[in-house]
Symmetry: C2
Subunit: 199 residues, 2 copies
DNA sequence: GTTGTTCTTTACCGTATGGTCCATAACTAG
DNA sequence: CTAGTTATGGACCATACGGTAAAGAACAAC
């Protein structure tokens, strides 16, 4: 009596969230209608609302999952194997290479969402802020490591260089959306890393 | 008979376009309704449609005007008075300073529009591409000038440095939207320029 | 004045929107 | 079986959407 299970769910929550994410990723928040979401997931409105709340809650839910994944990915690279400089290279060039390989060039969902909603949605902004602060911290730590092993000029300001790398990564992301060619994107990432190394 | 003037317009086209631009700037394309536009301009739908066509045409019209203004502004700075390095500094720091001063942080309308619509609107992408290609060219030319007067290492690749500056500018723009502090934004612009100068 | 043309205003259209409700189905506990 | 609970799927709602049509107003030419 205390625990009646009720009718079991007919869908895989992970799969549904993935479909929803694809929709928001493809069209953005405002341009995605509830019908788009029900079409993409196969669920009725009732199920969607019962399980995740309204459109906005669902969006934030998806965004949180995405942010966690991405942040873990960045952390994995920057604290992974290889020298500190190699890890920085892997990350920064990875951004450019990712776009070179993806013809659709949808970019990062968190970046897109921030760009679309930053003026009118403080919740999205706060997610963006904490996330990129975390990435910044990881970058700075990695730059310091590279200074310790002598790859990067020890007298340089690690914070300054870490933030610069963060900005360059985001700049590449944007320029990719303008249709800048893959080689040019890679050139930018090379340039940024070249500036880092001792000279 | 050949030239009947008909009823004269009751509005100032420039003023209307400015109001429309503010709306699109504040809310983005998809989130701006026709009613928002009629409210902002004071015009009826009929007038708006008669004068500028539908929502999309009106948007592109506004975007073109904005792009021209911005590009002229960049050109004015990069080909204006002062040494080449001073002009580059003025431009790059100007991006950061602009955000520091604007509490709303709406950013550049062309950037916002590109971010929102690049996946589904080739017309917007093509406008972005030509614009940023033009800015890139101006930057590269200015870097070359700085190399000629000895401020920047003459053996460096001017194209590479110009593109790097472009990316950093766009990176700053994005990070501003995430709420990064003004001093940090300025620090990034300083870092980029510091990398340029001979060492 | 009349005619021709253009602009403005309002009413209107069909549809899509985000969101709710409810009858019913599917399950567990007893 | 019955009672309790939860999920489903479609009906339903008010409203907002982008866009059109039509009637009248304001002007120039004559």
């Amino acid at each position: 009596m205390l625990f009646s299970m009720g009718r079991p769910r007919n869908f895989d929550e992970k799969q549904v969230l993935e479909s929803v994410r694809e929709q928001f990723w493809n069209q953005g928040y405002a341009a995605t209608s509830l019908q788009d979401l029900t079409d993409a997931t196969g669920l009725g409105k009732g199920s969607l609302y019962g399980a995740f709340g309204d459109k906005r809650q669902l969006f934030l839910h998806v965004l949180d999952g995405y942010r966690d994944e991405q942040l873990n990915g960045v952390r994995a690279v920057l604290t992974g194997p290889g020298t500190a400089f190699e890890r920085l290279t892997l990350l920064v060039e990875g951004v450019a290479a990712g776009f070179t390989e993806d013809p659709q060039r949808r970019g990062c969902l968190l970046v897109n969402s921030t760009s679309e909603l930053h003026s009118n949605d403080p919740d999205v902004v706060s997610r963006a802020r904490t996330t990129y602060q975390a990435v910044e911290d990881l970058l700075i730590a990695c730059v310091k490591e590279a200074q310790d092993d002598g790859t990067v000029e020890p007298d340089a300001d690690a914070q300054e260089l870490g933030r610069l790398l963060l900005a360059v990564m985001q700049g590449i992301e944007f320029l990719a959306k303008t249709g800048m060619g893959g080689p040019a994107l890679l050139q930018i990432s090379h340039a940024a890393l070249k500036q880092l190394s001792r000279h």
